[in-house]
């Protein structure tokens, strides 16, 4: 067969294959379309009954039987509802989910489902504090997909059942995670249930990526005991990313013990460090930094000047007076930014 004949015969074969495929897909869709109308109606009905059950106007006598026959629809609906409610309503719904073996279906999805189902299963299992669920989530820490591993880790952390931090990090394979923000969720959950393990990640030996995660989590945990350690990191020779995160955490914690480190950082050569220090100073709210922030209104970096003006507004009357005096000073960076921020906030 000549090359030319190969081309047109090959193309004809590909064309036949593609048209046959789409025709098959159309037929499949026609069948599914017929069934989906009924599914949508069923879903609406179940949603209505579930809401009534949750708020207590339906005693659920026949509900379980109905839901058992429509587990794929009802399981999905109930999980969506669980996120939206709290307290006794959530507890009732979780009991119903367990009675319908939804956790077991989720564990099956976690082991064998396609990528989207494994991700959703890993997230949904956090509502079930059960040894089988915990075991399944721990196995999922070795999943080939990073999102599934992270979802399982976040769920375990929320259940207070995460393995020790070193083991958790090894199984999550952080080198493959590219600094995923979802890892921050894991650490934040861990900080709520096991703050000591998170604080232990601030040691010298831990890589910067782990320190950043720990600093973020501790900053949001309200754990004032960590302030000295965080402050030391903020003024150490750690990388810029670590020091930025440390300053951010000090700002979130708002503890006055963090102020010396914040003040020292106002004089850093890196504009991002200075800017973050300014933000932290405003949050801590100590009036003794007003003179330094006043000076920062003339910083070479626009963002540092802007954040300094905003921070002064957070420092009560002394801050406001400093900003107003800068605004009245004539021309230059400091008066301009001061005037603009005062005008933006409509402060007279």
């Amino acid at each position: 067969m000549s090359g030319l004949a190969t081309i047109w015969i090959g193309t004809a074969a590909l064309l036949t294959l593609s048209l046959a495929t789409i025709l098959l897909l159309i037929v499949v869709r026609m069948v599914q379309q017929h069934m989906s109308g009924r599914r949508a109606a069923k879903r609406r009905h179940i949603a209505h009954r579930l809401l009534a059950y949750v708020i207590g106007t339906d005693d659920g006598a026949s509900l379980k039987g109905q839901l058992a026959g429509t587990r794929d629809i009802s399981g999905e609906l109930m999980l969506e509802l669980v996120q939206l409610i709290r307290g006794q309503e959530r507890a009732r719904l979780l009991v119903l989910l367990t009675d319908l073996s939804v956790p077991r279906s989720l564990l099956r999805d976690l082991r064998r489902g396609r990528h989207p189902r494994r991700i959703l299963a890993a997230a949904a299992l956090r509502y079930f504090d059960d040894p089988e669920v915990i075991a399944g989530l721990r196995r999922a820490l070795d999943d080939r997909d990073s999102q599934v591993r992270l979802g399982a880790a976040a769920s375990l952390a929320e259940l207070g059942a995460a393995p020790p931090l070193a083991e958790l990090m090894a199984r999550l394979r952080p080198d493959q995670l590219h600094g995923s923000h979802l890892l921050r969720l894991v650490f934040r959950r861990l900080a709520a249930t096991d703050p000591e393990s998170v604080a232990s990640a601030l040691t010298l030996e831990a890589p910067d990526s782990v320190k950043v995660l720990a600093l973020d989590a501790l900053g949001r945990s309200g754990n004032y005991g960590a302030v000295p350690k965080i402050a030391a990191i903020a003024t150490s020779r750690a990388s810029i990313e670590v020091r930025l995160e440390a300053l951010r955490s000090l700002g979130l914690l708002r503890h006055p013990n963090g102020l010396p480190a914040i003040r020292q950082s106002l004089f850093e050569p890196d504009w991002e460090i200075r800017t973050q220090a300014v933000v932290a100073a405003g949050r801590v709210g100590a009036e003794q930094v007003v003179p330094e922030l006043h000076r920062m209104l003339d910083d070479p970096a626009w963002w540092a000047r802007f954040r300094a003006a905003e921070a002064l507004l957070q420092l009560g009357r002394p801050g406001l007076l400093a900003l107003k005096s800068a605004a009245a000073a004539g021309a230059g960076h400091a008066p301009e930014i001061a005037r603009q921020v005062l005008a933006e906030r409509d402060v007279r």
């Binding site: 000549s2 030319l4 004949a5 081309i7 047109w8 090959g10 193309t11 004809a12 590909l14 064309l15 593609s18 048209l19 495929t21 789409i22 025709l23 897909l25 159309i26 037929v27 869709r29 026609m30 379309q33 999980l79 969506e80 996120q83 396609r114 990528h115 989207p116 991700i119 959703l120 997230a123 949904a124 990073s146 999102q147 979802g151 976040a154 590219h178 600094g179 995923s180 923000h181 979802l182 921050r184 969720l185 934040r188 626009w302 963002w303 802007f306 003006a309 930014i337 603009q340 921020v341 005008a343 933006e344």
Partner: protein, 476 residues
């Protein structure tokens, strides 16, 4: 000696060479498209989109960075209110909407002021990139995250630059004023920035054809197909372009464009490259190539990518005249970018983006239209004169027509397997017919317009956007 006594041997050789070049080019293009189709299929099968974000919304929201939606608007009086209301109701934890009124001559600004009770405001901003002077800034007490910049006319790139300066979020999303974003589009398009925050620089989402859809209050409430042939064919064309070309190219590190209608960018990198460039009609492709160049030259590990699941709907031209102007402009934009960054084309120093990305602009946008149009004229002529045999003609028809149908139908199969936006089996059947018809006339017309665009670029003809008569999105 040849079988045609009137044709000298030299002529036969020349015909044969020309014909082989034309056929070879077509084959190479087809092979590339097939490869991209395969890559896209594997990508979507391995990581299909999440059907619903309801279960993950809480987690994503906690770590989702703030976004500034920058909406350049020029003479959008008819649809601007509806568009802005729809943007304000997007499902995202923290975002601001910055409408940039770029010297409109109609009542775009007045409409915004009336609809949202806007008042003049002062808001300090960093003059990081260049743009024409701002005439006024407006804010709304009822919508704390809505801002309007009124500025002198400077074009879309200029308007986007004004928005970049004004924004305070680490990410900005460039959105056309007539684009309709799906409610969860921001959550989906931001995911790479959550997943790989250190690397991700720009992400494009899918743009789909809104003609024929039922739209209410700036939302697509029912997906449908256009009634008219021209937008129907564009539906398939967009599907092929986004699901195969963009998805496939992004996987091989050769994505050179993030659609101007819907793209998410890291503000600091946009500022580092000087924002959007003036003096080009292809500002969306140019900024991406500029970013690639800058990041390569900085030796940074970065990601510029496309994700299929976040969707933006847009109205497409319904008349040949408007479509022609649009395609000529797009071609011109590609060529302007190519020549601005010509040192990258086929340059191994720039890795895959140089070889396959900018290199493909050279091949696909510059050379291919010329060769295809020559083929339409010469191959049938050579065959009619007996200079080419039936085998060659069949091979040529296969490569230039039948293969195109395979690729278009292939994109439809991808759509049906993993995305399924069209609700009815009948829609699929209609789109299949459109995929066939697309390759008999429409594609050829497009190549002709691209050649026109090339000549206009060479002749440095005045750039024109033309006017697209917007029908606006009427409710049901």
């Amino acid at each position: 000696m040849n079988g045609l006594p009137w044709a000298p041997d030299g002529m036969i050789d020349a015909v044969w060479i020309i014909s082989l070049v034309i056929l070879g080019f077509g084959l190479a293009q087809s092979a590339m498209n097939l490869l991209l189709l395969g890559i896209s299929l594997v990508t979507l099968v391995r990581q299909p989109p999440l059907p619903s974000l309801a279960l993950l919304w809480g987690d994503f929201s906690e770590v989702a960075p703030p976004i500034a939606l920058i909406v350049p608007a020029h003479n959008e009086e008819r649809t601007i209110e509806e568009s802005v209301r729809a943007l304000l109701s997007l499902q995202y934890p923290e975002f601001e909407v910055i409408v940039v009124n770029d010297g409109s001559q109609d009542r775009t600004l007045e409409r915004l002021i009336e609809s949202f009770d806007l008042r003049p405001i002062v808001r300090p901003y960093d003059h990081a990139v260049e743009h024409k002077p701002i005439r006024g800034l407006y804010g709304a007490s009822q919508y704390r995250n809505l801002f309007v910049i009124d500025k002198e006319r400077g074009g879309k790139a200029d308007a986007l630059n004004a928005g970049i300066n004004f924004s305070r979020a680490p990410l900005f999303c460039a959105v056309d004023a007539d684009s309709i974003l799906e409610a969860d589009a921001l959550l989906r398009v931001v995911f790479p920035f959550i997943d790989q925050p250190l690397r991700t620089v720009a992400i494009g989402g899918t743009v789909r054809v809104a003609n024929g859809c039922k739209v209410r209050s700036g939302r697509v409430i029912e997906v449908g197909l256009p009634q008219r042939l021209l937008p129907l064919i564009q539906t398939i064309e967009y599907m092929r372009s986004f699901l195969i070309a963009r998805l496939g190219r992004s996987r091989i590190g050769a994505l050179t464009i993030v659609s101007g209608a819907f793209g998410l960018f890291r503000r600091s990198v946009a500022v580092a490259v000087g924002g959007y460039s003036h003096g080009t009609v292809g500002e969306d492709i140019e900024i991406i190539v500029k970013m690639h160049r800058y990041l390569h030259e900085q030796n940074r590990d970065y990601r510029i990518d496309f994700v299929a699941d976040p969707v933006c709907w847009t109205e497409v031209p319904t008349t040949l005249g408007t479509l022609a102007r649009q395609r000529i402009r797009w071609q011109r934009g590609s060529l302007e970018t190519l020549f601005r960054h010509k040192r990258m084309a086929l340059n191994p120093r720039y890795g895959r983006i140089g070889l396959l990305g900018v290199g493909s602009i050279l091949v696909v946008d510059l050379l291919n239209p010329i060769i295809e149009v020559l083929g339409y004229l010469l191959i049938p002529l050579f065959w009619a004169l007996g200079l080419l045999g039936a085998d060659f003609m069949l091979a040529y028809l296969a490569v230039n027509f039948a293969f195109g149908v395979c690729i278009s139908v292939g994109s439809l199969c991808l759509e049906e397997l993993e995305l399924r936006r069209y609700p009815r089996a009948k829609d699929l059947a209609i789109l299949t017919l459109a995929a066939i018809f697309e390759n008999f006339g429409y594609r050829q017309l497009n190549n002709f317009w691209r050649v026109v665009g090339l000549f206009r670029f060479i002749a440095r003809a005045p750039r024109e956007w033309g006017r697209m008569t917007r029908k606006g999105f009427k409710g049901t």
